[in-house]
Subunit: 229 residues, 2 copies
């Protein structure tokens, strides 16, 4: 087992059988000590955040498996805070795919001339480049295609999967009276046929969830969703 | 004749017959006294810039008319630095449509992780919102549709027209040994059938043009393109 990548919230190890092991850390993204799932910097350490993130990720990946939606997930070990996944290659140097149900965050900062804060957005999908130096710029279908990052057909697959996955998560949250405002997902190509599947994690750090108008912190979201698991 | 709008580089007057008169000013956009067609601020005044801009605009609008491409242009009076145009309504609070043949400017600032400076882009089209406060953010086809600014069908028309128009201009420049790097256009809806047509102007301030690797200033571009007219 060999450390191949150290991320902001996870370390990645290569396993001898070709799969990968993701080790969830207790760091969460944010700025000035305030959690912000959209931030590029690790803002604070929250004890147990790694295990909590994995618990929620396992919960959602297993729901997606039941729904027949392809992901890189194989299994998880909560005690070790590790998840085993299939090897995947990312698009270009990495993309984030955002699904929005309410206008908040960077969407509002960009399009505030046309959108009210909190306005419903009906599962609007957009793609941003993972590029800290350039503040993760949004990028269009045409630009992704032209720059050789993602073909037009792959974009449509990605958009469709994003809506399906986000709707599954939104529904699961709503069963606990929680509303999903937005979520960011990552995708990659797996296996010989380069199938596009969901990768990375799905935890509180990936989404903005609200209950009765109040934002739910990642650790609280995990407790509310998978208490006792 | 009534002043209805004071723009950064033009004033707009309503005519009694329902058309509009655009008065070209000698202000050009830029920052810190340096001309930048992508800037939101008026950086400097250049004597004769208004007439020069109009002369080039007239030249291009008449070329487009010959090519059967719809615009708001009716006629121009160079001495007065005025152009008469059909009434048009803009999309939302205004869009800019950019056609790029080389990777420079904001494209490179956003996508520099994937593009080299000056790399050919084959007429790549993107849309930005006219919103000084939010630095004219780029916006996708899906977002334009969702926010009610432009339907998906209108987007395709806009993109097609942008490529056609930009290709006409690129060809005209190339006849003088000048290379078009990028150009920004504006569109509106005219007449009862809301036909989408090119509006505003097409002058040096709208584009980046180069000769033998050197950037051509707007006033020089006008002289090179329509000398003696």
């Amino acid at each position: 087992m060999k450390l191949t990548y150290t991320g902001k919230t996870k370390d990645v190890f290569a396993l001898d059988n070709g799969n990968y092991l993701l080790k969830f850390k207790d760091d969460v993204t944010g700025e000035n000590g305030v959690f912000d799932p959209g931030a590029n910097t690790v803002g604070l350490v929250m004890e147990g955040a790694g295990q909590a993130g994995l618990r929620l990720t396992k919960f959602f990946f297993e729901k997606l498996k039941e729904a027949g939606i392809p992901t890189h997930y194989i299994d998880a070990n909560i005690d070790e805070a590790t998840m085993t996944v299939k090897p995947a290659t990312v698009f270009g140097k990495g993309l984030e795919v955002i699904c929005r149900y309410r206008a908040v965050g960077s969407f509002l900062r960009r399009y505030g001339l046309y959108a009210q804060e909190g306005q419903p957005l009906d599962g609007f999908v957009e793609v941003t480049l993972k590029d800290d130096d350039r503040l993760d710029p949004p990028i269009s279908k045409d630009a992704l295609d032209m720059l050789g990052i993602l073909s037009a057909d792959e974009y449509e697959t990605l958009k469709q999967l994003t809506k399906q996955i986000s709707d599954v998560i939104k529904t699961e949250l709503s069963l606990k009276g929680i509303e999903l405002y937005d979520i960011k997902l990552e995708f990659g190509r797996v296996d010989k046929d380069k199938q596009i599947v969901l990768i990375d994690e799905i935890s509180g750090g990936n989404m903005r969830a609200y209950k009765d108008g109040n934002y739910i912190e990642p650790l609280d979201l995990e407790r509310m969703m998978v208490a006792g698991n």
